[in-house]
Symmetry: C2
Subunit: 333 residues, 2 copies
Amino acid sequence: MAESSTRRVTSADVARIAGVSRATVSYVMNDTPHQTISADTRTRVLDAAARLGYAPSAAARTLRTGRSDVVLCLLPDWPIGAEVGSMLGNLSTALARQGFTLVVHPGNREDRPMFEIWKAITPAAVIAFTDFSPGEIEAMRAAGVALVVGLFGNGQPDGRRRELEVPQQLIGRCQAAHLLGAGHTRIGYAYPDDERVRIFAEPRLAGVRDECRESGVAGPATETVALEAEQAAAAVRRWHAAGVTAVCAYNDEVALAVLAGVRKLGGGAGLAVIGVDDIPPARLAEPALTTVTTDQVAFAAYLSATVVAAVHGRPGPDVPTSELVSLVKRDSA
Amino acid sequence: MAESSTRRVTSADVARIAGVSRATVSYVMNDTPHQTISADTRTRVLDAAARLGYAPSAAARTLRTGRSDVVLCLLPDWPIGAEVGSMLGNLSTALARQGFTLVVHPGNREDRPMFEIWKAITPAAVIAFTDFSPGEIEAMRAAGVALVVGLFGNGQPDGRRRELEVPQQLIGRCQAAHLLGAGHTRIGYAYPDDERVRIFAEPRLAGVRDECRESGVAGPATETVALEAEQAAAAVRRWHAAGVTAVCAYNDEVALAVLAGVRKLGGGAGLAVIGVDDIPPARLAEPALTTVTTDQVAFAAYLSATVVAAVHGRPGPDVPTSELVSLVKRDSA
DNA sequence: CCAGCCTACTTACACGTGTCACCGCCCGCC
DNA sequence: GGCGGGCGGTGACACGTGTAAGTAGGCTGG
């Protein structure tokens, strides 16, 4: 406890205590392959490190290796909701278990040019929930970023980079399958009012469309629904006029708006409604909202595995199948 | 475009192109005070940097200065909701404007020992939504972390480190003030079921209690309310028995549960309910939920200012007053 | 006319790590 | 007995930056 100053504990300190060279300390700490270390010195080094509370400097390691252990997650500028929040939390712990640090950056592209960020950080990988120009992608790859996990392959026809798209389609399919299975033959889709969530809304709608087509049913009657009762009531009226008896909503929130619209209209002819996310208010609504949840833990694990595999140059895991999304049956559909 | 390889653009490259030394480049890029640079060379350097797309290596800078531009935000293990998510987003942009990078780390204290993280990162500051032991705080300070912004001063009696507590109390006060102003004389508090949000719930409840005391009204009748209608109905029954006519809820979600409980009981004697956060479902509920919102942008700006000031060793800004929280009057209270 | 100061730079070192090249040693094998 | 080769380890360099210390030249005051 008689520390002279607040100096950082470096590997040199560990080496001195353990009576070995600094290189040996590095080899022990990193389990460097093809480098044999006797069991005796190994424990001596480990003991010294533990005693001193040694933790290697991330900055120095990054500088030396040219690649940091940071996984940069670039968000678009839509408001991140509870489900995205918990997904990020799970992703962070899943990556931490593999030795990576997740850094989330909200995508205010105007504020700071984005390239400034990944050039400064030199992340091991980038998870982009936003479209990149091919030029940007090439620049990042050239700068040493091992992988760019894109949300949507914007234009490129190869099947890659769709890691995040397929699960969204599954959500739509699950919604539609439930409604069709319940005997509905004319269904609607409640599209969100917020332009910024389009990258989620489009594939979900596509999933609904696919499921309809495969069941030989006409595609969904799509209405844009704001989070406001009056507006939603107008949409409900149009659906009634079109013979729609059940609607898939983009969201639990949108679904609650639809329910509010139905309520405002007197709610004579009940409209079946199904949401997404299973937020707590869904269960508390009247009627209790039937919804579809994604297994955030499993999804985060999948995403994490994708990133880790790509960083090591291995092919990523298969896109998870339908066990990722599951139905929560309640009263509204 | 005839780049031989994928080498990183360093300040040496900029120096070579601009025809100056590397040190000069550094001085120009950082606007180093007490270092005079002629306007001519300055523009030459800036031009060269822009042309090459130079961005300084965060790792090298961190290694050299001993302090990174990272602000580490340690979250407890409760599920981060939409409001916390948006707060973090705002905080991130506010800090980015000052040249800092926000790194959020969910607090699974078991998974990795926490000190391993900040030892590796050497953050400029730590925003902790969780209690630290005095020993940990001392260790961090010794390791060079400029500031520890704690959510709650656990035990230490000095007025510092309560930056995040006061706003929470304001929320409770605002809720209670509205109900008392509407003529209610016996009010209740709907406490969350989740033990993990206690650090938010306690100061909010304290705010309600303070407001009651200052108005000469008995303290709130507190009931723990789970996010489930049956359970909430039982609480509502007890409140009725105690003569409570209005309740402050920890949350909009808890408030919706209370409303569901009232509805389940037939809703004869209406119970006034007021929530917090103004989540979208609040507006869509029946009756539409009266609630209290915090100005997340202003709060993030305040938090950011606190961090920046402390990093530079200056005293932080004053705790913002009541303009931070505002009432959203609807039908439920 | 020279000491001294200010401007506008440059040279040199340090930060803490990973890793390549080397080196002594002992063991087994021809 | 010589000697190739694995074991166990060391010495030295590079990564890219910030900054203290030094230096050449012009200008000013005495």
